[in-house]
């Protein structure tokens, strides 16, 4: 990771000087993380793909505003957060919860795909803020203070959202997790 960070810093420096190829390498390194973060946040592949394009385009346009190259990941996820919530605020309907076939039978052992569906469904039951907190913490591995920087709110708010999300997920996923790891 240390070497990776050093190389990212070099690439960022080159990209700041207008090196498109260097920025292309940065995109290839981060696109999967950003895409999956956005996909789990907005729940739609096409929208996640379009948002990913927008995120990297804005990153390129604003790269010179990045003060500390070591904070590139937080800065990039901050852009992704803004793009995603801009879309969610605009057109996300409050969809009714649908029955999840994967968790319909609570006695049978789950296959991996069923476990995946169960987790995806459980995530959709969270509020956008709660889901985003889970995504940043569980899937992206950010610390509380980094999440606070990305989301622009205090650490206490982050913990509140995350703990509330865990309480909700626990009811659904604890039995699923138990069956999934049998």
């Amino acid at each position: 990771m240390i070497f990776r960070e050093v190389e990212d810093r070099d690439l960022i420096a080159k990209a700041r000087r207008g090196d498109v190829d260097a920025f292309g390498i940065l995109v290839s390194r981060w696109e999967k993380r950003i895409y999956n973060y956005l996909l789990r946040l907005v729940g739609n592949r096409e929208e996640a793909m379009d948002l990913s394009q927008d995120v990297f385009l804005k990153a390129w346009q604003n790269l010179k505003k990045l003060e500390d190259a070591d904070r590139f990941s937080s800065w990039l996820f901050r852009i992704a957060h803004n793009e995603a919530f801009s879309l969610l605020r605009k057109n996300r309907p409050e969809t009714a919860l649908t029955a999840d076939p994967a968790v319909a039978d609570r006695s049978a052992r789950l296959y991996p795909v069923e476990l995946t569906l169960a987790v995806q469904h459980a995530l959709t039951r969270l509020s956008d803020d709660q889901r985003e907190a889970v995504l940043l913490k569980v899937y992206q591995g950010f610390k509380f203070d980094e999440m606070a920087e990305i989301l622009g709110c205090p650490v206490s708010t982050i913990k509140s959202r995350l703990y509330a999300a865990l309480d909700l997920l626990k009811d659904t996923l604890a039995p699923v997790g138990a069956r999934g790891v049998q």
Partner: protein, 204 residues
């Protein structure tokens, strides 16, 4: 440590410092309700992390976007002919700089070079130099031999002279001794003669 002071969620999410992890783990082993809660949270976390990342459906690329289009000087710079032109210009500059910085050569009138004459002249010059060098070496060797010979002759002469002087010195000493003996005899004879003529008895 009480149940209310235990942050099981922070433990599961990896946010607790190492110093507190042991305390929480110890409490969970002793407290049944906290143990059950820890198990539920761990299973939840396990289920969450089982969700795998999807591959990006298509490559995110912005090369076709306006903002990524190279500027006019970038297009010129990256084009092949331009690079060729730049290389030629660089080479021309290097030659020009070399010509300006190098000391000017002799700018006499142009002459037709007679190669054979030059070769003959060079050969003569070489022979002349070789002969001069050989003569110098021979002269030096002869001078050294003469010097050595003279030195040996001088030493020999000195040795002979010393021998002769020694011989004549011995001879002179011998002559001197003989002369002294003869002189004594003569003196004795003269004394006898004088005493005889004086009527004195001469004792034998």
């Amino acid at each position: 440590m009480t149940c209310s002071s235990i942050d099981l969620k922070a433990y599961v999410l990896g946010e607790l410092p190492e110093s507190e992890k042991g305390l929480v783990a110890g409490h969970v082993r002793e407290c049944a309700s906290c143990g059950e809660e820890m198990e539920r949270l761990s299973l939840t976390h396990l289920a969450l992390v089982s969700l795998r990342d999807e591959e990006v459906p298509r490559r995110i690329a912005f090369v076709s976007d306006k903002v990524f289009e190279p500027r006019w000087w970038q297009r010129v710079w990256r084009s092949g002919p331009a690079m060729g032109f730049a290389s030629a210009a660089l080479l021309a500059c290097a030659i020009l700089a070399h010509g300006l910085l190098r000391p000017a050569p002799w700018a006499g009138p142009s002459v037709t070079v007679d190669t054979a004459a030059v070769e003959r002249r060079v050969a003569a010059e070489v022979n002349e130099r070789i002969n001069a060098r050989v003569n110098a070496m021979v002269s030096e060797a002869v001078a050294k031999a003469v010097f050595d010979t003279n030195l040996r002759q001088q030493r020999r002469t000195a040795e002979l002279l010393a021998g002769v002087e020694k011989k004549y010195d011995l001879q002179r000493k011998a002559d001197l001794l003989a002369f002294e003996a003869n002189l004594e005899i003569v003196s004795k004879q003269q004394a006898r003669t004088f005493m005889a003529s004086s009527g004195l008895e001469v004792k034998p």
